[in-house]
């Protein structure tokens, strides 16, 4: 089910006027039908919200089916007649059993320890004891963390908590002394940073353990040479940068496009062009944020892609459908596999589509006007392959050796890409037990081949 986009359409009153079979089946199982109101409450509310705001909305959707939960991504595009619904990445999962709500590692207090929280100025807003821990110091409310816990420097004279406050990252191994029932006791603090929806640092949440019970501090994360000191291994950092940048950028792009399109009235042509440049630069930055978020995700230890049953032919045609307009703008013709040609393979549907979009996007970007891009399917033994070839200037042997490196743009300085796309694409291919290779020569275009485990 995950390999398809399920489509539907509602009228202005929110009635489902048409839909693919999967959506219709779900609508019927929920007790409704065609020409009747959407029966899935979550979907109906999203549709109503999109219509009310007259804005496209893309959100995760979780819906309950008879014996399973459906997890999907839904996109609602409102128009004058109602709204179009697109549901992708449709997955069914068994109904989740009730679980203890997740607790972050730093907040998982041992029975012998305390858990604490502070605000961005290190003032305590919570202090609780584990079941077997000594009682907490009275009158802690609103006091400074460093007042309640006497901070001890590490061997280099540094205080982990203060360094982490400056960087807004997590820390552990901060040795402190605090009042206990039998006088001063040695404890060790560890904590994770907290952020709100705008990416603003709101404080730390952590634990305080008696020194003998505290685990040895984990060595600091190895710094990525490409990112300097950016803590890419810290998921909170990724979420924060993602949340903090995506919204403002989306607004910059939308506003710049409104100005550029002169939707609110005519303006001077050069101003409209400047606005177009701003929108273009915004889209580039948004692409970079997407790439960084992806990079952070795939470089996480244990990252694995799903093993969907996919058809490389279908995915290639889907990629062509998405980027066809862009190619036409340059007069480029794309020779896609015919609709009856299939190449069954195993890989994660959306990740393979992401790789193909990257390859095809690069091909369009670096192909001369009025040229040809062709996409071919092939099978060699147990490998299913899809090749994207262009008639661009090609890549010499030296460049081929580095083209899959992070931030490698082969000397290009235009705003076309982040230099992360091919690096991410190859990492994704390998995460799916596949490979991404390039074959090229100067003046002869480039051929990028994605190979994945074949399926009979």
């Amino acid at each position: 089910m995950s390999e398809r986009i399920v489509r539907g359409r509602i009228d202005r009153a929110g009635r489902l006027v048409r839909g693919d079979a999967a959506l219709l089946r779900l609508q019927q199982r929920a007790g409704s039908g065609i020409d009747k109101p959407l029966a899935l409450p979550g979907l109906a509310r999203l549709a109503a919200l999109a219509q009310r705001l007259q804005r496209e909305i893309s959100r995760p959707l979780i819906a309950a089916d008879d014996h399973s939960d459906i997890h999907a991504l839904v996109r609602i595009v409102p128009d004058a007649e109602g709204a179009a619904i697109e549901i992708s990445d449709w997955r069914t999962r068994p109904i989740a059993q009730p679980q203890i709500p997740p607790v972050t590692e730093a907040a998982a207090v041992s029975p012998q320890g305390w858990s604490w929280e502070c605000d961005g100025q290190l003032r305590l807003v919570a202090l609780r004891r584990g079941a077997e821990a000594p009682p907490v110091t009275a009158g802690w409310e609103g006091r400074s963390l460093s007042e309640l816990f006497e901070l001890q420097p590490d061997d280099n004279g540094h205080f982990a908590v203060l360094q982490s406050l400056a960087r807004q990252t997590g820390f552990d191994g901060q040795r402190v002394r605090a009042d206990g029932p039998e006088g001063r006791m040695a404890m060790v603090l560890a904590a994770a940073p907290q952020f709100d929806a705008t990416g603003r640092f709101t404080g730390f949440r952590g634990t305080a353990l008696r020194e003998a019970e505290a685990p040895a501090p984990v060595p600091a994360a190895i710094t990525d040479p490409a990112f300097g000191s950016l803590p890419l291994s810290d998921p909170a950092f990724g979420r924060r940068i993602d949340g903090a940048l995506r919204g403002p950028l989306a607004r910059i792009i939308a506003t710049a496009e409104t100005i550029s399109g002169q939707f609110d009235g005519p303006i001077r042509a050069d101003y409209a062009r400047y606005a177009g440049d701003i929108a273009h630069a915004g889209r580039h930055l948004l692409g970079l944020v997407d790439d960084l978020a992806d990079l952070q995700n795939i470089e996480r230890p244990g990252f694995k892609a799903a093993r969907d049953e996919i058809d490389l032919g279908d995915l290639a045609r889907r990629a062509v459908g998405l980027l066809g307009m862009k190619a036409e703008e340059k007069g480029i013709r794309i020779d896609a596999p015919p609709t009856d040609e299939a190449m069954p393979a195993t890989g994660e549907f959306r990740r393979v589509l992401q790789v193909l979009l990257n390859l095809l996007g690069n091909a369009i970007r670096y192909s001369p006007a009025d040229s040809l891009i062709w996409i071919r399917l092939d099978r060699q033994g147990d490998r299913a392959m899809v090749t994207v070839a262009d008639q661009g200037q090609g890549i010499d042997a030296g460049q081929q050796a580095v083209v899959f490196e992070k931030f490698e743009r082969l000397g290009r300085t235009d705003s076309g890409g982040s230099g992360l796309g091919l690096y991410i694409a190859r990492r994704l291919a390998r995460a799916m037990d596949g490979e991404l290779t390039v074959d090229s020569a100067p003046g002869q275009g480039a051929r990028f081949t994605l190979s994945l485990p074949a399926r009979d």
């Binding site: 029966a39 409450p41 109503a48 979780i62 009730p98 972050t104 929806a197 903090a244 607004r251």
Partner: protein
Amino acid sequence: MVQASLFSQLASVNPALLACLRETSAHLAAPGATRLSEEQRALALGIARRLVGDAADRLDGAVDAAALWADWGTQGLPGATQMAGLCFARAEEHRWREQSVRHASDAAPHGVEPIAPVAVPTTAAALADDPLAAIDRAYLVLRIADRRRFDALGHPEVAIDDLDLDFFRSLLLDIAAWALVRSGKDPAVAARLGEAVRGALARHDPARGIDQAGAAYHAALAAIGVQADSAAVAIARHDWPALIALAAAAQKYRYDDMALALITAEPAQLAPLLAPLLRDHAALAPLEGSLAMLGNRAVASAASDDYAAALQARAATLGDGPEGAS
């Protein structure tokens, strides 16, 4: 007939079967009605367990809280109807906040300038003179009151100081009665329990609760007329406790009542609900979006129609045709 009779006999001696049949019956009577998900059940039950445990712990060690819950968990909770509202409201608020945290990376910031950190004066005189410091302090107190509504593992609970005094007294007396019966109605135990209940009630301090913290925060903001701006900032930051507290104070509701009112509101009801506080309807979009993403909300439109009323309306429609034609 034979089957119906057998069912009746089986159900009369098997409470589990009786409960299943009642639930099936309710389900068949309204298959499309919103029902509690397993997550909602588990959260509400967990909150009730922690509330009973916390209340029992207030009785100076006179009650075995584990045995109490084991008994009440099997036999049913006294005062369950009143406790249901509290636990359900807290569970729904927790679900909303957890969802908001999970989707924080998807949520777009809404152009809100962060409030600059405020230097906190240390003297009472300085606090009184500086409205920004008073706001900062009141917000800190609100956060402290809110974090009292979680246990050491971060699980949601109802803070004892947030309880209505009558409800708290009733809960303590139920617990004491259970402990007394368990002791074989020992007069010494009765005296000790009575003392413990009086002590627990004397220590009950609503001033530490979220309702008073919310009211104080609202008052501090109102002193310089920035409560609407702060509510908009709270929405943009998905700082739902601050928003609920401000809205509750503005409407003079209890915090948990306002939380439930917001969570179960239809989109069109949000503006009037927040009207005394916030008149900028555009600022409501993130709130509306966040609530729309919360599954299984008990909003009015999710409830099944009144079948009898619907049938009557349909009959009236059918009846109109021939009469009108004749």
